[in-house]
C-alpha cells in the first residue's frame, strides 16, 4: 500500500465552523454559525474539521452528541457520519463531546406544540420552523422524543461530507491532483494510480483549510451502511463486560458515596443521628445534603449499610400523599377551571350525544417508575478551578447550568462527560442525582466521588409518569362509529419538569392529550379535551410520554365503540382513517396477523393503533385464556418511519417498546402512602419476564415523507391491544391499568 507521508505533524488551530443543514437546489450548504466547541480543547496534532469529526495521528473520533440510553443512538449517529466520511465505523472512537449549544436539538420542541404530525398546513410548518429556531437559540443539547434520527439525519451526513471534502482538498494540495481524480475509501484518499493517503496523514494539512462547505450528499442508492443491517458499535463491549457506564467509572483516590433523602417526597430533613453510622467500617463522612444525608465510604456496600444506620427525622410530604386521594384529585379536575386544551373538536359532539344511546366508559392509568436497570449513579470531582461530572444524562447543558447555579461556578468550568447509560426511559432527563453528588463534592473538594443510589432509593425518588383518568362518551349511527368524545385529566409533565430545568411552561400541555387528540380518524363528531390536574408529586417524561397512557384510553374506547356499532375494529379504523401512511400500517398488521381468521376456543385477538412522534404504529396481539391465566402468544407490529436506517436495531427498538408497554400494562404501578412510593424494588414492580414474552413480528414501512425515530412509538399501542385481546378472549373489558388488578397472567 502506498502512503505519501511528507507533512510534518505540528500543532495548529483552525477557524470556527458549525453547521445548519439547509437545502439549496439539492446541495446542502454548510453555514458558519457558532463556534466549534472541539477547537477549545484541541491538543497538538489534532484537528476538528466540524463539531462532529476530530482527527489526529492516532485516529478519528466521531462526536455523537445524543445520549445512548440503550436505543443505539451512538451507533446510529456514527453510521450517519461515516456514510459520507468513508471510514469503517469500527475503526473510529466515539465521544459524546462537550455540553454545547452547537449540539442543539431542533426537533424536540415540536412535541410541545399542538401540531399534528400529519398536518402540513402553513401553521404547522411555521411551528416546526420555530422549534428549530428555539432549539438553536436556547442551545437545547438534549436527547429525547425519538428525535435523534429526524434531527441529525442531514446534519451528521453533512458533517461527514464536509470532513471528507476537506480531507480531499488537503490531498489535492499535497499531490497537485485535481478533485475529479481523487476518490475516498475506508479512511483513505485514493489516487488515480492506486496509491492511497491515509486520512490521519492529512489531518494537519486539513487543519489549515477552510472547511469545504459546498458539498452534495450521496443518493441513497450509493449508501453502504444506511438502510442495511448495521453492526452496532457497542455490541462487543456490551457482550464482554467492557462497556463503561456511569456506575463503572474508576478514578485514583475515588471514594464511594450513597444518599438517602426523605422517602416522603419533598418532606425534607428535620434532623439526623449518624453516631452509629460514623463508627462503621470504612465510613469516612456522613454529610447533610438537601432533603437528606449522604454517606461517604471506601466501598459502595459499606456506604449503603451506613446510610441505613443513620436515624433520620423526616418531615411530612407537602403533596397529596395517598394514591386514592391522588386519583380523587384527578377526578375533581374535570372542571371548566382546569380545562387545559381542546385541540380536537370536529362536528358537533354535544348535539350528536343529545338523546343518543350513549356508550360511556372511564379509564384509569397509574403512576409508573422509569427504573432503568442501572440505578442513578455519577462520578464527580470538584476543585477550585473546575467541576467534572461523568454520568449517563440526556441533558448535559442543563446539568451544566444547574450545577453552575448550585456551586456558584462559571458554567464554562463545569465539564459534563456523558457516558453510556444503563437504560433511562426518560429518567435521565432529570439531574437530581447529579446535584446530590455535587453537594457532596462541595463538602469534599479535590476528591473524586462516585455516588450510587440503592435500588430502593431509585424507586422511591423517581419522577414518575403521571396517573390519569379518561372519561369517554360515544354514539353509533347506522352501524358505524359516529361520535367520540374523550376527556383526559392528568397532572402536567411539562409544568413539572420544565420548572426543574428552569424553563417556563407556556400554554396548554400537549402531553396531557398526546396520542389521543392527533389521531388520523375522520369521525363525524370527534372531540378530545385535556384537563390539567393541579400539581401533585413531581412527574416527568416516561418512554412515549403522554401517548404512553392516552393510547390505552383512546384505543380501548375505539374498540368499545366498534363493538357497540357491531363492526370489525380493523375495518372500521380503515374506514375512518384519512391518512394514507397510517392506513398502510393498519393494512399491513391485518395481513401479518391474518386478521379475521378463526383462533379457536379461549383465544382472542386485539388491535390498537397510535400515531405518536409522527410514527403510526398498529399492533395486533393474540392471547389465550389458560387455566393459569392470560398467556400472550403473539404480537404483530407495523410501524411507519419514512425510512428504516438500520433494520436490525429497528426491530430491537420496536420489540423492546412492545415489551416495555406490555410489561407495565400487565403488572406495574407506583402507588403512594403519605407521599412515600410503596414499590421499592423489582419484586413489586416486575414488568415482563422472558417466559411471558410473546413472539413479536415487526415490519417497518416506508411510505411517509419524513424520517422518524423509533425509540418510543412502539410503546403506546401495546397496552390497549392487550386489553382488547383479553376482551376478545374472555368478554371481560378492563378499563384500569395494571391489568393484573383484574386478571391473572401466566
Amino acid at each position: 500500500m502506498g502512503r505519501v507521508k511528507t507533512i510534518a505533524r505540528r500543532s495548529f488551530l483552525i477557524g470556527s465552523a458549525a453547521i445548519a443543514g439547509g437545502v439549496v437546489f439539492g446541495t446542502y450548504l454548510y453555514k458558519r454559525e457558532g463556534t466549534n466547541p472541539l477547537l477549545a480543547d484541541l491538543r497538538a496534532g489534532e484537528t476538528a474539521i466540524t463539531p462532529y469529526v476530530k482527527i489526529d495521528a492516532q485516529g478519528i473520533t466521531l462526536i455523537t452528541p445524543r445520549a445512548d440510553v440503550g436505543q443505539g443512538a451512538w451507533s446510529m449517529q456514527a453510521h450517519l457520519i461515516v456514510e459520507e466520511l468513508d471510514i469503517d465505523p469500527a475503526t473510529a472512537t466515539l465521544s459524546s463531546g462537550p455540553a454545547s449549544a452547537i449540539y442543539y436539538n431542533g426537533v424536540v420542541g415540536v412535541e410541545a406544540m399542538p401540531i399534528a404530525a400529519t398536518s402540513d398546513t402553513l401553521l404547522a410548518r411555521t411551528g416546526r420552523g420555530a422549534a428549530d429556531v428555539m432549539g438553536k437559540l436556547m442551545g437545547l443539547h438534549i436527547t429525547g422524543g425519538s428525535t435523534t434520527v429526524p434531527d441529525l439525519y442531514d446534519r451528521l451526513r453533512m458533517a461527514g461530507a464536509v470532513a471528507r471534502e476537506t480531507l480531499i482538498r488537503a490531498a489535492m494540495q499535497q499531490t497537485g491532483l485535481p478533485r475529479d481524480q481523487l476518490k475516498t475509501e475506508n479512511g483513505f484518499v485514493v489516487l488515480p494510480d492506486g496509491l492511497k493517503i491515509e486520512y490521519l496523514d492529512l489531518a494537519v494539512l486539513a487543519a489549515d483549510i477552510e472547511p469545504i462547505q459546498d458539498v452534495t450528499l450521496r443518493e441513497p442508492s450509493q449508501w453502504r451502511y444506511l438502510t442495511k443491517p448495521q453492526k452496532r458499535t457497542d455490541v462487543i463491549a456490551k457482550s464482554t463486560g467492557t462497556q463503561t457506564y456511569g456506575i463503572d467509572m474508576v478514578m485514583d483516590g475515588m471514594v464511594h458515596a450513597t444518599t438517602r433523602t426523605n422517602p416522603a417526597l419533598g418532606g425534607g430533613l428535620a434532623g439526623f443521628d449518624a453516631e452509629d453510622a460514623r463508627k462503621m467500617r470504612g465510613v469516612q463522612a456522613v454529610l447533610q445534603i438537601t432533603g437528606g444525608i449522604a454517606v461517604v465510604a471506601d466501598n459502595t456496600w459499606r456506604a449503603f449499610q451506613a446510610a441505613q444506620a443513620v436515624t433520620c427525622d423526616w418531615g411530612p410530604s407537602p403533596y397529596i400523599g395517598n394514591t386514592s386521594d391522588q386519583f380523587a384529585a384527578v377526578a375533581a379536575s374535570f372542571s371548566e377551571d382546569d380545562q387545559d386544551s381542546q385541540f380536537k373538536d370536529d362536528g358537533d359532539v354535544l348535539a350528536a350525544l343529545e338523546g343518543a344511546e350513549l356508550v360511556e366508559a372511564e379509564y384509569r392509568i397509574p403512576y409508573l417508575a422509569h427504573a432503568p436497570l442501572e440505578p442513578m449513579s455519577v462520578v464527580v470531582k470538584m476543585t477550585n478551578a473546575r467541576l467534572d461530572i461523568w454520568t449517563g444524562t440526556q441533558i448535559p447543558r442543563f446539568v451544566q447550568a444547574n450545577m453552575a447555579k448550585l456551586t456558584g461556578m462559571d458554567a464554562d468550568n463545569i465539564h459534563v462527560h456523558v457516558l453510556m447509560s444503563g437504560g433511562s426511559f426518560g429518567r435521565r432527563l432529570e439531574d437530581d442525582y447529579i446535584a446530590q453528588a455535587v453537594e457532596i463534592a462541595m463538602q469534599l473538594p479535590d476528591t473524586p466521588i462516585k455516588m450510587v443510589w440503592q435500588r430502593e432509593e431509585d424507586f422511591t425518588h423517581d419522577f414518575p409518569r403521571p396517573l390519569a383518568i379518561a372519561r369517554a362518551k360515544g354514539a353509533v349511527r347506522d352501524g358505524a362509529v359516529d361520535t367520540f368524545d374523550l376527556a383526559i385529566a392528568a397532572p402536567s409533565v411539562a409544568e413539572s419538569s420544565l420548572a426543574r430545568l428552569g424553563q417556563p411552561a407556556i400554554g396548554p400541555d400537549v402531553a396531557i392529550v398526546a396520542g389521543a387528540w392527533d389521531q388520523p380518524f375522520d369521525i363525524p363528531n370527534y372531540r378530545v379535551t385535556g384537563y390539567r390536574t393541579p400539581a401533585m408529586v413531581p412527574v416527568s417524561s416516561w418512554r412515549s410520554v403522554g401517548a404512553s397512557g392516552n393510547g390505552f384510553m383512546h384505543e380501548s374506547f375505539m374498540d368499545e365503540m366498534c363493538h357497540a356499532a357491531g363492526v370489525d375494529p380493523l375495518a372500521e379504523r380503515l374506514r375512518l382513517c384519512w391518512h394514507e401512511p397510517s392506513r398502510k400500517v393498519l393494512e399491513a398488521v391485518g395481513e401479518m396477523s391474518d386478521w379475521g381468521s378463526e383462533l379457536g376456543a379461549n383465544r382472542g385477538r386485539g388491535l390498537a393503533f397510535t400515531l405518536a412522534f409522527g410514527v403510526p404504529v398498529a399492533e395486533v396481539i393474540e392471547v389465550t385464556n389458560t387455566e393459569d391465566g392470560i398467556r400472550i402468544d403473539k404480537v404483530f407490529v407495523a410501524a411507519e418511519v419514512g425510512r428504516v436506517l438500520d433494520p436490525v436495531n429497528f426491530e430491537a427498538q420496536v420489540q423492546g417498546g412492545v415489551i416495555f408497554g406490555l410489561g407495565h400494562a400487565m403488572n406495574c404501578e407506583l402507588t403512594y402512602e403519605d407521599g412515600v412510593a410503596q414499590q421499592d424494588n423489582f419484586h413489586v414492580y416486575e414488568g415482563m419476564r422472558l417466559y411471558q414474552t410473546p413472539e413479536i413480528t415487526v415490519r417497518g414501512l416506508e411510505n411517509g415523507d419524513k424520517l422518524r425515530g423509533i425509540g418510543e412509538p412502539g410503546v403506546p399501542p401495546a397496552a390497549p391491544a392487550l386489553a382488547n385481546a383479553i376482551f376478545a378472549a374472555t368478554g371481560k373489558r378492563i378499563r384500569e391499568l395494571p391489568l393484573s388488578k383484574s386478571v391473572d397472567f401466566v
Binding site: 445512548d68 440510553v69 440503550g70 436505543q71 443505539g72 452496532r232 457497542d234 455490541v235 462487543i236 463491549a237 456490551k238 457482550s239 464482554t240 463486560g241 467492557t242 462497556q243 463503561t244 457506564y245 456506575i247 463503572d248 474508576v250 464511594h256 467500617r281 471506601d298 466501598n299 459502595t300 456496600w301 459499606r302 449503603f304 427504573a371 432503568p372 436497570l373 442501572e374 440505578p375 453510556m420 447509560s421 444503563g422 437504560g423 433511562s424 426511559f425 450510587v452 440503592q454 435500588r455 436495531n649 430491537a652 427498538q653 420489540q655 423492546g656 417498546g657 412492545v658 415489551i659 416495555f660 424494588n681 423489582f682 419484586h683 415482563m688 419476564r689 422472558l690 417466559y691 413479536i696
Partner: protein
Amino acid sequence: MKLTVNGETHEVDVEDDMPLLWVLRDELGITGTKYGCGIAQCGACTVHMDGIAVRSCQLAAGDVTGEITTIEGLGTPTALHAVQEAWIDLQVAQCGYCQAGQIMQAASFLDLNPDPTHAQIDAAMSGNLCRCGSYPRIRDAVKSASSKLKRA
C-alpha cells in the same frame, strides 16, 4: 481472605458478609458484573462459582467456596465464549446493562443442559430482568449458542 477470580487469586480484607458483588466491583475493580437490585430479583450481578451461575449480590464473601468467573473471565473481545459470540451475532444488547448477567446465566445453563427445549430456556432465563426488553433475542441467542456449542 483469599478469592480466586478469573484464574487469579486475590487477597482481600473485607467483612464476611460483604456481598461478592461489591468485593468484585469496589475492592478488585472488576466492573463487568453489575448491581441492579441487590435482592436477587434482576440477575444483573450473575457470576459463576465453579461454573454454576450465582447471584453475587446474595453470595457473602465469606461463603465463597469455589473459583469465581465473571463476564471478563468467560471470554474477551478477542477470545469470545460461544455464548458471547451468539450474543454479538444476534445483537442482543440494547442498553446492555443486564447482558453480563444474562450471558453468565446462559453459559452456566448451557453447560448443564447443552440441548435445551424452548420451555427450559424460558425457565432458566426468567430470573434475569431486562428493562429494555431484549428477551426475543436472548431466547434466540441461547438457541444459537446451544447449536454452536454442539458443533464445537
